[in-house]
């Protein structure tokens, strides 16, 4: 992971601040940084979004392609994640440097979406056992300033919301051969239901307290963090302890609670989508009730 060097004095300063619920940039322990969400930013994709959270920038593009369903679940489509740690973010990622982090991030995403309700995969089925939509979700890290997981999950949710999959129809001719027909109207599209798509909240343990949305400096002071992905209904879809430290069982219980009672998240979403003016309201609504 992109890391910064923090001196002992800086560490003490940050830890004392966290103890008094005042962080270096003036936030409280449970405050997020300013977040901006922009959807429909890349025209060649079926859905895209860019999220900036402080100086962390994440771009997500989604492409839908027709593929063959997995034999175990013939009536469902599937999702593929790929996270690219571009060398733009930090020179450490040059060459194969970012590969390890990329694999870790994408493996976590598979875990986050490893359940039945996050995405209705049955709606991606075109013809059971033969054809289905495969969603390729490509995440590009443009800038790293801590809290990649949270930013990434918001960007994926926004991009999924933005995704339009062309409507297709399967027709059968006399010999039983099947043909896929694309609708003539290019605006005749299928939208995905993203209400149950989870978002990730990463809580970093600093001293005896924990903070959300840690910056790189704060991350350097924390030895262990807990990643929790949660839907608006309060269902946890993934938990993961990150880092080399260990956690007190009590602090785990405390951390899982924060999420429920957590403070209002000052997301100020801003979308540049001209076709769907309601996107703005929709997304901001979504996140505010998620973080309440």
């Amino acid at each position: 992971m992109a890391t910064v060097q923090v001196s002992e004095a800086e560490k003490v300063y940050i830890m004392h601040g966290v103890r008094d619920d005042l962080r270096v940039d003036g936030r409280g322990c449970e405050d997020y940084r300013h977040m901006e969400v922009e959807t429909d930013v890349v025209s060649n994709t079926d859905g895209s979004a860019k999220v900036s959270l402080g100086h962390t920038d994440v771009l997500v593009g989604i492409k839908a392609e027709i593929g063959k369903p997995k034999p175990a679940v013939p009536n469902e489509g599937y999702v593929e994640f790929f996270v690219d740690c571009s060398a733009n973010a930090t020179p450490e990622f040059e060459g194969r440097g970012g590969e390890e982090l990329g694999v870790e991030l994408s493996n976590t995403l598979y875990k986050v979406f490893n359940n039945r309700h996050s995405l209705d995969l049955r709606s991606l089925c075109i013809c059971p056992g033969e054809h289905c939509w495969v969603l390729y979700i490509d995440v590009l890290l443009l800038q790293c300033d801590g809290n990649l997981f949270d930013a990434m999950s918001v960007a994926i949710k926004a991009a999924l919301f933005n995704t339009r999959i062309p409507k297709v129809q399967v027709s059968e001719d006399e010999e039983g051969g099947k043909e896929i027909e694309l609708s003539d109207d290019p605006y005749d599209c299928m939208r995905l239901d993203v209400t149950n798509v989870p978002c990730i909240v990463t809580l970093s343990k600093i001293g005896h307290r924990h903070v959300v949305d840690a910056t790189l400096q704060e991350k350097a002071c924390s030895v262990a963090s807990l990643l929790i992905s949660i839907t608006h209904k309060g269902l946890v879809t993934c938990v993961r302890k990150l880092g080399v430290g260990s956690l007190d069982p009590d602090s785990i219980f405390e951390m899982t609670e924060v999420r429920n009672t957590g403070t209002e998240h000052p997301v100020q979403t801003h979308t540049r989508t001209h076709t769907h003016t309601h996107t703005y309201i929709y997304i901001s609504e979504h996140y505010s009730y998620f973080f309440i």
Partner: protein, 271 residues
Amino acid sequence: VPADRKRVRGPEESQCPLLFLPPAAQTAEPREPRAGRGNGEVRPLFARCGLVSQAKGSSYLEAGNTKILCSVYGPREPERRDEAGVRSGRLLCDLRLAPFSCGKRGAWIQGSGERDLSLALSESLHPAVCLHRYPRAQIEVNVMVLENDGSVLAHAVTCASMALADAGIEMYDVVLGSALRQDGGASLVDPDLAEERGNWLAGYEENRGGVTLSLLPNLNQVSGLHADGELRADTLSAAVRTCMESCHKLYPVVQQAILRAVKRKAPPPEK
């Protein structure tokens, strides 16, 4: 090369026929529930240390049909150098599933799933090892899963910590792993592979998922926590508590296995 038209060739890709069983066949025939153990019971554990003679320390663990072998090498001179490695040692963890360990044959090359497990293993062991006592050195932990019948990560953690203790690597505590499968209202501790997959086809109910926890029992610290699926917050807390309890149940077995190896290696020193 001209195509051989007379021969009927098999398909390029082949799939296990069991995948094509109609869903009814899987659900209609009720599996024997938990092979005679209660939901909160772990499978009987078999553990031994010091089986790989070439390694500094090693261990073998069996829980039901899950079989895991682990060996530890080092501390030795690091191959890769970076800033952090100078002040304290590095712990390298590598977990592999043998190609024949699962129902479907796996590849010898480490897949992304195995890499994920290796990372999880490393993160779970890291807090327990006194790495500051091994400056400029690396300790290698190699875990080979010979047979995968569920709860692999949990048992790999236990097995690796036994091998580290056997190797005489200084540790703050042993690490014990435990897994739990939540299936609706039922919490199944130490699930086997079938339970781990869950009654996937049965329905779209909520509150299903898996939890794997690693615990430092004497220090009462959680060194690893991994969960996926869909769990309510209260279920998750309950699952964490249940996992911690079942970790404590493993402790005597692990302790005995380590001590046995110590005794076998050397008689008690003269006072």
